[in-house]
């Protein structure tokens, strides 16, 4: 390994490195704690490679600007935290409807409202799923350490292109601000998905919303050789508005199915000591670090504990969760909210009564002692 490839960085910087590795060339954002370092770093890095950075007047404008830039053929990203993520929701829905590849980073802090800007939370899991109005599907990914932040960020760009959809990176304040080692992959080490472009020649009718046989929609750079229309209204294969019930039904189905039918290929997760685990911890993001600590610690003392670390939160990997929890007597979801992933796990497993919550909602990182104490309470042993 080249020593130059070893970096000591914040999670936010690891995200930036990965975005650039994936080919990011346009970023629009608005300052907000705890995501600001992403914008700051990119304002310096992007123009060095001919990319563009713009600080917009708010998060709404940031989201809109990246959609415009993506349409012209760029790989794009914005970064924010809870309040800004709330503002982005309408435009995020536009990207869903118009099928525009883009990556939205939400470095979570405590909410609702201004909440707890400099402290950790994982309270936006459901907002990532249902923040924008109307039925839709969405991809949301997360990670618990900087090496994984890097690979999951590259994944996010790849999935955005593969499925022509916005992808949300749901990090948290601890991951964003903590510094640790990152080993930069060499160029080519992680495969990149480039934009699927139409083979339709100039002067030939191009249908921006006519799927190929495999369901994918090749794009033509907006402003390029084909003139077409893009709208947030329900639209036909030309991109023109339609309220024809068959078109409305077909498009809504397509938007959901293209993601929900690929739930298992979108699922990213890590497992530790699950083979014989009687108690399965399920966690993600920074709380998974504490959960892993508990698992390793108790394993050393002979307890049959395992950890399922989720990296894909949406679409929720229900099949995987069900399978991994099949033989568990007890499933404990470790998260920093009031049970947003807990509800999904309860729905996924065969016996919801064996699923418990170990959480903190006070802006403090849940630590191994917290988890251990909650486990003892669940087991009826007291702290």
């Amino acid at each position: 390994m080249n020593e130059k490839n070893i970096k000591f960085v914040q999670g936010n910087e690891a995200c930036v490195e990965a975005a650039l590795y994936a080919g990011l060339n346009f970023f629009a954002g608005y300052p907000i704690t705890p995501s600001t370092e992403i914008a700051e770093t990119l304002s310096a890095r992007l123009p060095q490679t001919g990319g563009k950075f713009v600080q917009m007047e708010d998060e709404i404008a940031s989201m809109c600007a990246i959609i415009g830039a993506s349409l012209t053929g760029n790989k794009v990203m914005t970064a924010t935290s809870g309040p800004g993520f709330s503002l982005m929701q309408e435009a995020l829905g536009y990207a869903v409807m118009a099928e525009i590849p883009c990556v939205i980073v939400n470095v979570q802090r405590g909410g609702p409202s201004t909440g707890n800007p400099t402290h950790v939370s994982q309270g936006d899991v459901n907002q990532a799923r249902w923040g924008t109005h109307g039925d839709h599907a969405i991809i949301a990914l997360t990670a618990s350490n900087h090496q994984d932040v890097f690979s999951i960020t590259v994944d996010a760009f790849n999935m955005a292109e593969t499925y022509r959809t916005p992808v949300i990176l749901l990090f948290d304040e601890v991951i964003g601000h903590m510094r640790e080692r990152l080993i930069m992959p060499e160029k080519g080490e992680i495969p990149l998905v480039e934009r699927l472009k139409t083979s339709v020649k100039r002067g030939v009718d191009y249908h921006p919303y006519l799927p190929r046989e495999d369901g994918r929609l090749p794009m033509s750079d907006f402003g390029g050789v084909h003139r077409y229309n893009v709208t947030g209204l329900f639209h036909d294969m030309w991109g023109f508005p339609s309220s024809d019930p068959a078109i409305v039904h077909g498009l809504l189905r397509h938007l959901a199915d293209k993601i929900m039918n690929n739930e298992n290929s979108i699922a990213r997760y890590k497992e530790y000591f699950l083979e014989d685990a009687r108690t399965v911890l399920i966690s993600y993001g920074s709380s998974a670090r504490s959960a892993l600590h508990v698992v390793k610690n108790r394993r050393a003392r002979g307890e049959s504990l395992g950890l399922l670390e989720l990296q894909t939160l949406w679409p929720f990997p229900a099949d995987i969760v069900r399978e991994k929890c099949e033989n568990a007597k007890c499933v404990i979801v470790v998260e920093m909210n009031m049970g947003q992933v807990l509800q999904q796990v309860k729905t996924a497993v065969d016996n919801p009564e064996k699923v418990f919550l170990a959480n903190r909602i006070d802006g403090v990182l849940i630590n191994p002692t917290d988890i251990r104490n909650i486990m003892r309470l669940i087991q009826g042993k007291g702290v």
Binding site: F26, A28, A44, P47, Q48, G50, K52, V54, M56, E57, D58, I60, A61, S62, C64, A65, I66, I67, G68, A69, S70, L71, T72, G73, N74, V76, E90, A91, Y94, F222, G223, V225, R227, Y228, N229, V230, T231, G232, L233, F240, P241
Partner: protein, 267 residues
Amino acid sequence: MAIKDYIRERFFPHMWCPGCGHGIVLNGLIRAVEELGINKNDIVMVSGIGCSSRISGYLDFHTLHTIHGRALAFATGIKMSRPDLNLIVPMGDGDALAIGGNHFIHAARRNIDMTAIVMNNRIYGMTGGQYSPLSGYGILATTAPYTNIDHSFDVVKLAAAAGATFVARSTAYHVQQLTDIIKQAITHKGFSVVEILSQCPTYFGRKNKEGSAVDMMERMKDVTTPIGSKAKKENPDLIERGVFVNEDKPEYCSEYNKIIERAMKRN
């Protein structure tokens, strides 16, 4: 090229009400583009939501029909990516200055090269006649049944104060001036604002007893005057038409290219 070569005929007849001024704006816009000889492939039209915003669907340019109030923000992403293209952003008065007011002043401040056309009919037409930030004190609207107590923006003053480097006003009645002004606005390098007074006989006219579309257009002739005219001195209430601001200032995308040069040198 013939006018009909610029439109998407399959979407006609358009959805605007009989007598609406927006069709005249469409006509003026096409004539401006035609006279400038700009290739259809070099024009991107970005619109928001409302009656005015439907204009993009009727034109055979690269067209992006976005969300309410945000057209300029989408357009900023496109223009920064493709500075070589001509960006035209038609908006309604509510679209541009209520929900989109923030984007309007900031796009002007950046002086990014695009043409914002505010089709001002002083009412929310699509939703059925509610008062807009340009309706003005004393008018009637479906949400101002006892008269409107909101004062209106002066688009020209607002745009100029925000930093737009080309600011002009005309009306649907003065269609030749309108065409000429749009031509200047498109040619201008920087953020251009063109306010076009347009009539909405269906809602504004009916609510405020301004008569037919023809009556409303005649009124545009009566209540406006060329900039600095003698009539304006005699009657300060007249609304001036013409080019108010036309100045050179560093344009955003050109400036960003300099940033790229600086960043590459330092790297």
